[in-house]
Symmetry: C2
Subunit: 150 residues, 2 copies
């Protein structure tokens, strides 16, 4: 029985505000998501919970992840190089905005952020009269440690 955390309060608030129900399953998924860091796929999360014998269906995992994204607690990202068809999720609450670097050699996903870069993007948007709401930058290449190896 995981102890209540801040995210749980936010999520129950989100649910209540829309007359959605705070179910055992939804809370279990929330706990699972906020119990670990890093990127994960919906199916991986489902399998992980299966193994832990936490009773939940694949459909509910998918449906709940949507709500978590909608509530702003979780972010959906598309990172994988070749199999771009699989969505990944990452915790968003309590974290600052960041971009991703993807090492094509080891597969590692690195996160970084850079204010001047953000500002330059904003400047371009101003120049074109485009109102930015969100953005994602993905840089693919070879990470430092893989370069060292070869």
């Amino acid at each position: 029985m995981p102890k209540p955390h801040q995210e749980r309060t936010i999520f129950t608030g989100y649910l209540g505000a829309r007359s959605l129900k705070t179910t055992r399953e939804r809370l279990a998924i929330l706990d699972e998501v906020f119990g670990h860091d890093g990127h994960f796929g919906a199916d991986e999360l489902y399998v992980k919970m299966l193994r832990k014998k936490i009773p939940v269906s694949r459909a509910t995992v998918y449906r709940t992840l949507e709500h978590l994204v909608e509530s702003g607690l979780v972010q959906k990202v598309y990172l994988s190089d070749h199999n771009q068809r699989k969505a990944l999720y990452e915790r968003a609450h309590g974290r600052h905005h960041h971009e991703h670097m993807h090492c094509l050699s080891c597969g590692e996903i690195l996160e970084f952020s850079d204010d001047p870069l953000e500002e330059r993007q904003a400047a371009v948007c101003r120049r074109l009269g485009f109102k930015p709401l969100r953005h994602s930058l993905r840089i693919e290449g070879i990470c430092a440690s893989c370069q060292a190896k070869s």
Copy 2:
């Protein structure tokens, strides 16, 4: 019978270099791709050719697009907002690198490029020792004309 263009020379060269065959179907797909601008999905391309009564199968369209990407003539991008599962393609040969803005209101995809932005990305990579090979930036928001409407 479309007249030979530069891309055709490049493509046949690419094929020959790998002992792949220059088939009627591959050339027809190449011509179709370079006969128009903008972004398109593999299936759309297939349907367009069907309507024009150009005999080609869906499988061949997919397989040929792979080769076009491999040859550098075409670029595969993931742009659609919600249905990120669908890949789009765009002409790459003879065009400069660019990023995309996606208007969430009208769906329009705008292209732009900005050297200082590119340079700033390069600088971040240098700082982290990451060797960039390619990148993609997608900014979602509301385009100028949609803002004017509301």
